[in-house]
């Protein structure tokens, strides 16, 4: 007999009754003895029986048959079709976005990038929430906007990494990279000798850039690193960077120089290249709090990158403009992780290397430093 007072079978028909309204399901009932046996068989199936009850079930063929019958039911109930990957990723992105939007006070040790991401996400949301929410109502519209905002932010990261890739070339010291650097500078229009060229490309924008173009830029991927800080004008878009000079047009794809990583271990090894002989993070990397808003002059150490840095990351100029995510406090530089443009960074406190998409801060790999 059930001990559920809300499901007293008294007065109910024996045969289950199909509800005409789902809000008022009719309680199907069984004879008391049958219910008791069913409960025992069900509990046995779940391992929620005493030794005495176990012995009783095992000695009763009818009960064993009931157990088998319920086992089939259980297997059917468990067989739930998983969500498509796209749906899963959308759901997870929305949850992480919600977490990012929490006030910093609610998140101990929160990373600084969340605040910077807000303008990007807000631009995306503004662009989409103006559209009809559809038959599912405003709540669904808001969710869609959130999700799409993340996608737009991810697209914007491509622009950041594009500029970072070009900047990398400028750090190599050959003539071609000098030309690339010039291309960026030309596109930006104004570069002071003290500013790292990559930083300029990411933080400066044409003076005539429309101030209210955030939505349009978000849609065409034009929201770059500048959009991550409301005090900085939008970065030039891809077309500007690619067509600034003939040299720029001949330049290889922006990710051609990026380290191609395919495993977390490779991320760790790549990040370890930024460590000094003592296994410490190079102090030449500027303080993280200033990375996204300043264009500090590179130090002598940064300018004098040695030849081994062609393989190991010595990308401070570009790194200074890449966001910190996932608890990282030192950016190593941009890279490709399984074909996705990411930022490789180090959490020096936990001594782990991270690979993440800069604008969404989605961590794709996390591994202890070797």
């Amino acid at each position: 007999m059930t001990d559920d007072p809300t499901h007293d079978p008294s007065g109910e028909p024996t045969e289950p009754t199909e509800p005409t309204e789902p809000t008022e399901p009719t309680e199907p009932t069984e004879p008391t003895e049958l219910t008791e046996l069913t409960e025992l068989a069900s509990a046995y199936l779940d391992g929620e029986v005493t030794a005495e009850e176990t012995a009783r079930v095992r000695g009763d063929a009818e009960l064993l048959a009931a157990v088998e019958r319920l086992r089939v039911v259980r297997a059917i109930g468990r067989d739930v079709e998983p969500a498509p990957v796209s749906v899963r990723e959308r759901h997870l992105a929305a949850a992480l976005d919600a977490w990012d939007r929490l006030p910093a006070a609610e998140r101990e040790g929160t990373h600084r990038s969340s605040d910077r991401l807000d303008p990007v996400a807000a631009a995306g949301a503004a662009a989409i929430t103006s559209a009809p929410a559809g038959s599912r109502g405003r709540a669904r519209g808001r969710r869609t906007a959130r999700s799409n905002g993340w996608i737009i932010a991810a697209a914007a990261s491509l622009v950041v990494l594009l500029a970072g890739g070009l900047t990398l070339r400028s750090m190599r010291g050959d003539d071609a990279s000098d030309a690339d650097s010039s291309a960026i500078e030309s596109a930006d229009g104004e570069v002071t000798p003290e500013q790292p060229p990559g930083a300029t490309a990411l933080t400066e924008a044409p003076a005539d850039a429309p101030a209210d173009a955030a939505t349009a830029e978000a849609e065409d991927g034009g929201v770059g690193g500048a959009a991550t800080d409301p005090s900085i004008r939008p970065a030039p878009d891809v077309a500007e960077l690619d067509t600034g000079t003939d040299e720029a047009q001949d330049a290889p794809p922006p990710d051609a120089d990026l380290e191609d990583l395919s495993t977390p271990d490779q991320v760790g090894v790549y990040a370890a290249g930024a460590l000094d002989e003592n296994g410490e993070v190079s102090t030449s990397v500027p303080p993280p709090a200033e990375r996204t808003t300043t264009t500090e002059e590179p130090t002598q150490e940064e300018s004098a990158a040695d030849s081994s840095a062609a393989e190991a990351p010595s990308l401070q100029a570009a790194a200074t403009e890449l966001p910190l995510c996932g608890g990282a406090d030192y950016v190593v530089g941009p890279a490709l992780y399984k074909g996705v443009q990411v930022v490789v960074a180090i959490d020096s406190g936990r001594r782990i290397a991270l690979a993440y998409i800069p604008d969404s801060c989605s961590v794709l790999a996390s591994v202890a430093l070797p």
Binding site: P22, T38, L45, V57, E68, V72, I76, G77, A95, L96
Partner: protein, 217 residues
């Protein structure tokens, strides 16, 4: 147990601001959260909405999660409530319901050699589950989808353990009846010692080799 320890570590890291830990934590539980929503909310659209709502609530609520219960228990409770919310919303909407024709519960091919083929029709399963009273469906779902034990389910539902036991048993019995488990053709007898009382002993897939003829009484 190892899983719970890993969960606890991820929760701690996420509460310390580690976004990657939160991402990993949500991914670990995503399939079950989605399955809970799917089974309780019923339709794919409502389940998707519920799942997203649940994940957002989990992410927002994680800083306040005190760890007194397992993360999974806490998360599945949120998923259950989110799915119920979607269910209530749907029931407030004008609804076009198919006439419940009992013949639709007939196995597609009663003569099939394998029971799994006869009961694998997801539509029939969904219909049978949807027709269960909410209390039964939720209890069965929490047990069969999330593998929570009766005490944990009782905590989530805020009912006595005995009530959980009763709801699960009766819910399964109704499903068995509606899915015509009794009417399925018997399989050849096999090792009679295959009955396992432990839920973790099978992987949730239909093991047709372990099925035996059912006493119609």
């Amino acid at each position: 147990m190892a899983s719970r320890i890993e969960d606890a570590a991820l929760v701690e890291a996420a509460q310390a601001g580690d976004r990657a830990a939160l991402d990993q934590l949500l991914r670990r539980h995503y399939d079950r959260i989605h399955a809970v929503c799917r089974r309780i909310a019923g339709t794919t659209r409502d389940a998707d909405d519920a799942c997203q709502e649940a994940l957002i609530k989990i992410a927002r609520g994680l800083p306040r999660f005190d760890g007194k219960s397992a993360f999974g228990t806490w998360a599945y409770r949120i998923a259950t409530n989110a799915a119920l919310d979607e269910l209530r919303k749907r029931r407030r909407r004008p609804l076009l319901r198919a006439v419940d024709d009992d013949s639709t519960h007939e196995p597609a091919d009663p003569g099939a050699a394998r029971r799994v083929d006869a009961v694998a029709d997801r539509m029939a399963i969904d219909e049978a589950l949807a027709a269960l009273p909410d209390d039964f469906r939720i209890a069965v779902t929490l047990r069969d989808v999330t593998d929570l034990d009766y005490a944990e389910i009782a905590t989530i539902l805020d009912v006595p353990v005995g009530t959980v036991k009763s709801r699960i048993a009766r819910g399964r019995a109704i499903l068995a009846k509606r899915l015509r488990i009794d009417d399925l053709p018997p399989l050849p007898p096999d090792d009679p010692g295959d009955v396992s009382p432990h839920p973790g002993d099978d992987d949730g897939n239909l093991d047709t080799d372990s099925l035996r003829p059912i006493d119609p009484t």
